[in-house]
């Protein structure tokens, strides 16, 4: 936390003094860990910079070694604490550089307080026998008449790291098997590794093989002898460490967005024009987008079949499009189907037959099996493959991988966003005699039971408690939001018509009430997708929110025309607005009769006859549209409340520590409406108390 107040140093006019004092009273709360984190980053950067700056051969090889350490990581204490320092020179006077001899290279490993020689074994019989000699730990080692040597430096650290990640056998990762492989490479005078061997095994053959497979992909600057490129040996460790949480993975695929609540920018000349108002009469038919996606799906399914070509899975458990969706088909029990298909997909991975389509399919199955961490790892692995071999996949498949990853991050974000707790001391002075026995408190915070009881017994007192005692938890949701939006941006940037990514991104902006951005994004989405109804719904929602009801109505009508009949019927459904008797009749009507009922309902309330009547109908559609896009349906508990009562004034979300979130939707006077949601679930359901309250409201204040 920082604070600095300013004494007034110069006479300011009275009318500015208040402003000056106000600005002087600002405090800026720095994240406590930011300073140490940045300091560590700086120290690392300085260490690399120092090595790079330091003079000739010995320190340059150290650079290569340090870079290599960073590439592979180094969790093994010996390797981690070691700095490989090249003291002697590779080429000695009289020895032609580029012709390795057993004693031409010297390595020393230093650790705090003691030196330790690296033991190594030779990559092949023709290679140098050892790299054995030791030189002083510091100071210029080469004599004045020694040639100036510059060691190879690794290029493309990120790409190398991605490459290593891609060869790390997934089966070993899942089993938590890791290790350090010491590689020894002969780097030619163009900086390319032309021979590779293991100088120290990890003890796991598959890891040793993986490191050797990756080695040809490393790129170095060539070693220089007196400014002339020469071939040379280098040696460094590669660490494979399983990381089931994948806590560090996101940054390797995408960096978080600086401004997460922004719109993506697609590199096409007309991108900005696409946010201009839509000419609804000239929108292309919805069928075009379906056809475009269908051909992309077919190509992905073919890719999946290629991955499974060594098995008969596609024949037995297919068709491939179903497997790609991760959805069970046929008469087999879904659990059994998933087990069989995921087993075959894992086998394909172990055989090195995987590709982005098979990783997408396996990831989707893993989500249904509750292995969300592994699913994310699979999507990221697929994305790395697409980065490494862009020709392998088309844009739709890349977008799908980004979108699935973004969806997992979105779930995590929704599980932590705006979550907080209420300090027990906030109840001091508040009176609610009937609730005195309700629930206890833990570690200074009120229990959820107590909050719910006070909410329904003493809503006024509870409002006071929330007002003074609600503490948002520091859950890191901003980071999740940023990563999630980065994934959605990436999906849209590679495939601008992607329905899921556009919808999730725009709904997120709508949750923050960024209506101008929602409108711009929805117009673009609608255009590039050939008039997708969700784009029109989002545009209509934004227009309704910024007070342009007439335009909103046109967009909603255009959306309804383009939606499947069942979806359109959901949006125009009236049941949440009817009293219980009418509702019972309404839900039994045939579709055509329902439409007639709806027309009558709105006509009697002024639709088509007055601006207010139209506005009311538009608002209903806007609520139903948001409920559908945000909660998946306008008919679930959350959708029902949203359609009936609209957006709450405020929402408090309390985490009871068990993964269960209790939401308090505040609609002004009276109790909040309470919901329960599991962190890993998209469903938001009324608590029993919330259900009773909502039902009672319907009886006391029947919808008009």
């Amino acid at each position: 936390m920082m604070e600095r107040r300013h004494p007034s140093e110069e006479p300011l006019p009275e009318e500015l003094r208040g402003l000056h004092d106000e600005l002087s009273a600002f405090r800026c709360e720095e994240r406590p860990s930011f300073g140490p984190e940045l300091r560590s980053e700086l120290a690392r950067a300085w260490a690399e910079e120092s090595v790079r700056r330091s003079a000739p051969w010995s320190r340059h090889l150290a650079t290569a070694a340090v870079v290599a350490l960073l590439v592979g990581g180094a969790a093994v204490p010996g390797a981690r604490a070691s700095i490989v320092r090249f003291i002697g020179s590779i080429g000695r006077p009289g020895v032609e550089a580029g012709t390795p001899t057993p004693d031409e290279a010297k390595l020393e490993v230093t650790e705090p307080g003691a030196a330790e020689r690296i033991s190594r074994r030779e990559p092949s019989g023709t290679e140098p026998a050892t790299m054995a000699a030791v030189a002083p730990a510091s100071g210029p080692a080469a004599s004045s008449n020694e040639p100036v040597m510059v060691a190879p430096e690794m290029l493309g650290r990120v790409a190398t790291e991605e490459l290593l990640q891609s060869v790390y056998p997934l089966a070993l990762q899942r089993r938590g098997v890791g290790g350090t492989v010491w590689l020894r490479l002969w780097v030619d005078d163009r900086g390319r590794p032309v021979d590779a061997g293991i100088s120290r095994s990890s003890g796991v053959d598959e890891l040793d093989d993986a490191a050797l497979r990756a080695a040809p992909g490393f790129v170095f600057t060539p070693a220089l002898q007196d400014g002339r490129p020469v071939a040379t040996w280098i040696e460094f460790p590669v660490l494979f460490e399983p990381d089931p949480t994948e806590a560090h993975a996101p940054g390797r695929i995408l960096q978080p967005l600086v401004d997460p609540l922004s719109l993506p920018t697609v590199p096409r000349a007309d991108w900005w024009q696409l946010s201009e108002p839509l000419d609804l009469e000239r929108l292309p038919e919805a069928g075009d987008i379906a056809d475009a996606d269908a051909s992309a799906r077919d190509r992905a399914a073919a890719l999946l079949e290629a991955a499974l070509s060594q098995t008969d899975v596609a024949r037995r458990y297919g068709p491939a499009p179903s497997i790609l969706r991760g959805e069970a088909s046929g008469r087999m029990a879904p659990t059994e189907w998933r087990e069989a298909v995921s087993g075959a997909l894992v086998e394909a991975i172990d055989l090195g037959m995987e590709n982005p389509a098979s990783l997408l399919a396996l990831g989707r199955i893993r989500i249904r099996q509750g292995l969300r961490g592994e699913a994310r790892s699979l999507f990221e692995r697929g994305l790395r493959m697409t980065l490494r071999e862009p020709s392998l996949t088309d844009a739709w498949l890349v977008a799908e991988l980004h979108f699935e990853r973004g969806s997992l991050l979105r779930d995590r974000w929704l599980g932590s966003r705006e979550v907080g707790r209420v300090r027990s001391e906030a109840f001091a002075g508040a009176q609610c005699p009937a609730a005195r026995l309700s629930g206890g408190a833990g570690a200074g915070y009120a229990s959820v039971e107590r909050l719910v009881a006070w909410n329904y017994l003493c809503p006024t007192a509870m409002a006071h408690v929330f007002g003074g005692g609600y503490e948002p938890a520091n859950t890191g949701s901003a980071g999740d939001l940023s990563l999630m939006m980065a994934s959605l941006h990436a999906a849209i940037e590679v495939y601008p018509a992607h329905v899921g990514a556009n919808t999730d991104l725009l709904v997120t902006l709508a949750m923050y009430e960024r209506w101008d951005d929602v409108l711009s994004g929805a117009r673009r989405f609608t255009r590039v997708s050939g008039g997708h109804p969700d784009g029109l719904l989002l545009a209509g929602l934004a227009l309704q929110q910024i007070g342009r009801a007439a335009e909103a109505r046109e967009h909603f009508e255009a959306a309804l025309e383009r939606m499947p009949d069942a979806d359109a019927a959901d949006l125009t459904d009236l049941r949440e607005l009817l009293g219980s008797a009418e509702r019972a009749l309404y839900v039994r009507l045939a579709p055509a009769e329902r439409t007639a009922w709806e027309d009558d309902y709105w006509r009697t309330r002024g639709r088509g006859a007055s601006e207010a009547g139209d506005a009311r109908w538009v608002e209903h559609l806007a609520r139903a549209a948001f409920a559908r896009l945000r909660f998946g349906t306008p008919f679930g508990d959350a959708g029902e409340v949203w359609v009936r009562f609209g957006r709450p004034d405020n929402v408090h979300i309390v985490d009871d520590g068990s993964g269960r979130l209790t939401e308090f939707w505040d609609y002004g006077s009276g109790p909040d409406i309470t919901f329960v949601r599991w962190v890993s679930s998209k469903r938001t359901e009324l608590t029993p108390e919330g259900r009773a309250y909502v039902d009672d409201l319907g009886k006391i204040y029947p919808p008009q």
Partner: protein, 197 residues
Amino acid sequence: MRTEQDVTPKGAEPRHARPEAPLPSDFEAWYVEHRSAVYRYVRFRVATREAAEDVTSVVFMKALKSFPRYDEAKAAPRTWLLRIARNAVTDHLRALQRRGSLHVSLDSIPDLVADVPSHDERVIRQERIQKLLNGSRTLRQADQEILSLRFGAGLDNAEIAEHLRISNNAVAVRLHRALKRLRISVERSAPESMDPR
């Protein structure tokens, strides 16, 4: 797979107990002494805490890279750092403009608060801060710069004068004018239009 900096070696001391890797001693001292001022300056100019952290990181990374070439005769360390910060902020804002987004929401500034004990008062002050910051972002760059140096970085008039290479008197005049324009900007904005929600 993790990188070296991400993991604590087996059998080693816990990460927090490990001695920090060294920085050049002068730079270390600057970092300790001036990081907060740089961060505050940046935070005053950008929309979110995350952006402020990113830009502050860029500032110190650039400073570290240029550190061997730093010439004390040309500028004091803080002045030098704040100049780098000004350029980094400009780059950041340009990048945002290119992406067409300079919005700030109340959600994004919970770290900027006024020092008041009451929760209600604090909320009201946060909204006021939001309005003032939005207002300041409508001012010309020179005004934003002087307000950020004064109220963000916490420089007094003499320090601002050194930083901008102008006289103390000119600083007082510019500050006065910037405050005046800010007041007008805030007053002109209707409450609902100031609030991006």
